[in-house]
């Protein structure tokens, strides 16, 4: 079973479940308000999850795709209004702990305070890209902004190249230099599913930005993720 951690309102998550049926199911906030979860810190074999309303042992989960960075109070329509902020914090913390503890492949594991990969700010991503050996522009940031808007400046004249890393695979790279750079950053960030954007108007890869929550409405990317899980299962 592949588990997609997302929202009922997330069309891409629902599409993934439909495309991967019958091997996939959606884990939503409502599942976190369903009887059946058992997370034993010292006895994982006894642990149980609730996915799409069904209770299942953790051993039944072959892989997880995380489609959310956080659980927000406004999502919890099934919880009393006054309790939503507390419940959201508790559910987020629980999901963080649970996803971190799973032994199956998770794209991506929680980090920092994010449920899906590191919660780095744009400046941190640029810094990490430099540490990973990628070329970057100098980035300036000023608050309040000198003119009308508060900005973090990435001055580009055209849309950046978007390269997606899925485990050992790479999609959308114009050439091997971009592929190598994107994979280096993904490995450095310990984030096997990563979108890396490069300035488009350059003759060599120059880092623009990154996201640990790629746009999986792209059918090729969704298939690559599925292939990644299949490969992991074949190796297991």
């Amino acid at each position: 079973m592949l588990v997609i951690v997302g929202s009922h309102h997330d069309r891409v998550a629902r599409d993934l479940v439909a495309a991967w049926a019958p091997d996939a199911a959606l884990l939503t906030c409502e599942d976190l308000s369903t009887r059946g979860w058992r997370y034993h810190l010292c006895d994982r074999a006894a642990s149980r999850a609730v996915v799409a309303g069904h209770v299942l042992p953790e051993s039944a989960i072959d892989g997880v795709v995380v489609r959310r960075l956080a659980i927000l109070p406004d999502e919890l329509a099934h919880v009393a209004v006054d309790d939503r902020a507390y419940a959201a914090a508790e559910m987020h913390a629980f999901l963080f702990s649970w996803l971190s503890s799973l032994t199956c492949p998770v794209l991506n594991r929680p980090a920092g305070t994010s449920l899906c990969g590191p919660d780095w700010r744009p400046l941190q991503w640029v810094h990490m890209a430099r540490l990973a050996g990628l070329d970057t522009d100098v980035v300036h940031c000023q608050v309040p902004a000198p003119r009308r808007r508060v900005v973090e400046a990435h001055v580009t004249t055209s849309a950046p190249w978007e390269v997606n890393v899925v485990g050992p695979q790479c999609l959308g790279a114009p050439d091997v230099r971009y592929e190598a750079a994107a994979k280096r950053l993904a490995a450095f960030a310990n984030t096997p599913l990563l979108t890396v954007r490069f300035h488009a108007e350059r003759s060599a890869p120059c880092f623009h930005s990154a996201s640990s929550l790629p746009d999986m409405s792209d059918a090729r990317l969704a298939q690559a993720v599925r292939d990644h899980f299949d490969a992991c299962l074949a190796q297991a």
């Binding site: 009887r35 058992r38 810190l41 419940a87 914090a89 913390a93 702990s97 503890s101 940031c141 608050v143």
Partner: protein, 323 residues
């Protein structure tokens, strides 16, 4: 130069600030209440550089060798009262916090403590697993939405407490007969239950290599709220066994925390359990009760700009700055 970020009325920050003043250390206090008046300019190339404009001063951030971080929720600042979500004041305040936090994460200065290092405390079972992997005994823990699972856990351990999963402060409460009819409530939200460990509470503050032990004598299940159980609480400076002190140092180091408050309990049989490592400890409560020079020690670490530069002091309670 040492940068302090927070609000003037915050106990720990006020005590570190006083300690730095006594020591004559150069410092700038960045008052979070001024969030809408302050400016920050950053540039990132080979490293992060920039300046902070606050209270008529311009601070070259490259001159900062250490930072003490104690911010509160920005929305609670006076300047944010009545601010509309998504409005101009909101945007500016969050942009300022965002830029400053980025600098705090990237500066080579010593930071007590970086937000990224503090994050494990936002998910208690996650942090408890890290504590267990660091070599401490931890209480058996169940997070569940299943009343039957609680019943089994309760039967197995006889004495069980429950508390929050997240970093939101909650009162540790022992399960009692009055809860039996309400166990089904847990299906609404995952709830954390723990084996109750009998024994004596200890708060251990690790500051660099220094360890300050404090024994807590109280009959309350959560000594932070003794009045709820009409219980007394008294705090006493104490020595911590060397191996436990070393383990506390190692835990702090593994979590990337230059300063931490570690909650331990010693059983009557002499076993030590660890419950939590607080990355932004409210040490002033303990310092005021025990006289331990924790703020002096933090000031010293900040002045050194390094946790390694602070002399290892074993578990002695004596003033580490002058020892």
């Amino acid at each position: 130069m040492i940068l302090l970020w927070g609000i003037a009325s915050d106990g720990p920050l006020a005590q570190v600030r006083s300690a730095l003043l006594r020591a004559g250390a150069p410092m700038v206090f960045l008052d979070q209440q001024r969030v809408l008046q302050d400016r920050i300019v950053l540039s990132l190339d080979d490293g992060i550089r920039g300046s902070l404009h606050t209270g008529g001063q311009v601070l070259d951030l490259s001159a900062v060798t250490a930072v003490y971080v104690r911010p509160y929720d920005t929305l609670r600042m006076h300047a944010m009262q009545g601010a509309k979500p998504g409005g101009r004041r909101h945007q500016r305040a969050f942009a300022f916090d965002n830029a400053l936090t980025s600098w705090i994460e990237l500066t080579p200065a010593l930071v007590v403590n970086r937000p990224s290092a503090m994050s494990s405390n936002h998910a208690k079972p996650y942090q408890l697993d890290l504590i267990r992997k660091a070599g401490f005994a931890v209480p058996d823990t169940l997070v569940t939405t299943d009343p039957d699972a609680i019943a089994g856990f309760w039967e197995r351990h006889r004495q069980v407490i429950y508390k929050s999963v997240s970093g939101m402060r909650s009162i540790v409460t022992r399960l009692g007969d009055e809860h039996r009819d309400r166990l089904h409530d847990v299906s609404a939200c995952p709830t954390q239950f723990q084996q109750c460990i009998d024994g004596t509470d200890y708060r251990v503050h690790v500051v660099g290599q220094a360890v300050f032990g404090c024994e807590i004598r109280s009959e309350a299940h959560d000594y932070r709220y003794p009045h709820r159980q009409l219980a007394d609480v008294s705090l006493h400076a104490c020595d911590i066994p060397g191996d436990i002190a070393d383990r506390c140092r190692q835990l702090a180091a593994s979590l990337g925390l230059a300063v931490t408050g570690i909650d331990l309990r010693r059983t009557p049989e002499g076993a030590w359990y660890c419950f939590e490592a607080n990355p932004s400890p409210g040490f002033s409560y303990y310092e005021e009760s025990t006289g331990q020079p924790i703020s002096d020690a933090i000031a010293h670490v900040l002045m050194q700009g390094s946790v390694g530069g602070f002399a290892a002091l074993g578990t002695k309670v004596a003033d580490p700055v002058h020892a």
